[in-house]
């Protein structure tokens, strides 16, 4: 996630790449072809016929928060087919998702809510004073069950 991945495929072959969404925000998948003709499928299964997005050659697609196929904690498959009979293809794939970091104050407990089925992670940052310190982190679930319709 976030780091460009460059690879090449022999003629008439398929490459399969996987990623997982952690954050409950839109995701972008970008492909830049250096050489070759490709067809790319995005799917929740390792089956191109189950793909919910596809594009030819270089391209970029977004999976938006709230979209039917947006799921955190699920494996996504990016399947790239090299359509050429004779030549290899070379391309760079990048999956990007904006990350939110909550600033937490030193020694002050912070109550946060994980709401909805797709909210599975939260990031925190604590500024560190200089010197030899003991860092303490504590997470305490508050067992309140909210049954809404």
């Amino acid at each position: 996630m976030g780091d460009p991945h460059t690879t090449s495929l022999p003629p008439r072959t398929r490459g399969i790449f996987k990623f997982i969404i952690d954050e409950n925000t839109d995701v972008s998948i970008k492909q830049e072809n250096k050489i070759g003709k490709t067809k790319t499928y995005i799917s929740l299964d390792q089956d191109k016929y189950a793909a919910f997005k596809e594009f030819d050659n270089s391209g970029q697609v977004r999976i938006e928060q709230g979209e039917h196929d947006f799921h955190t904690s699920r494996l996504y498959y990016v399947m790239v087919e090299n359509l050429s009979e004779d030549n290899q293809s070379s391309f760079t794939l990048t999956v990007y998702q904006r990350s939110t970091i909550i600033n937490i104050r030193n020694g002050v407990p912070l109550k946060v809510t994980f709401a909805g089925p797709n909210e599975v992670t939260k990031n925190f940052a604590l500024p560190l004073p200089k010197g030899n310190k003991t860092l303490t982190l504590q997470v305490n679930p508050i067992l309140e069950v909210d049954k809404d319709v």
Binding site: L110, G131, V139
Partner: protein, 81 residues
């Protein structure tokens, strides 16, 4: 400078692997148990910070007649001493 401090999982993996330098203490309050982790750091630069991520299980399950969505409140505490 970016330094990875490690990863601590919940009680499913308890006792966790301590190779990352964390000291782990299990705490019980009002019949609920949770973990506290500590690590000694020598902070030499200005504007350094620790960034950490709390993961939670996907919070939807199938109810008897419909999907029920659960909301989870979590208290997060971080300090240096």
């Amino acid at each position: 400078m970016v330094k990875r401090l490690g990863e601590v999982r919940d009680s499913l993996d308890f006792p966790p692997n301590n190779d990352d330098g964390f000291s782990i203490k299990r705490i019980y309050e009002e019949s609920k148990g949770f973990l506290q982790v500590t690590q000694k750091l020598d902070v030499t630069e200005d504007d350094e910070a620790v960034v950490f991520t709390v993961y939670i299980q996907p919070n939807t399950h199938r109810g008897r007649h419909k999907f029920e969505t659960f909301k989870h409140d979590v208290m997060v505490f971080a300090s240096t001493s």
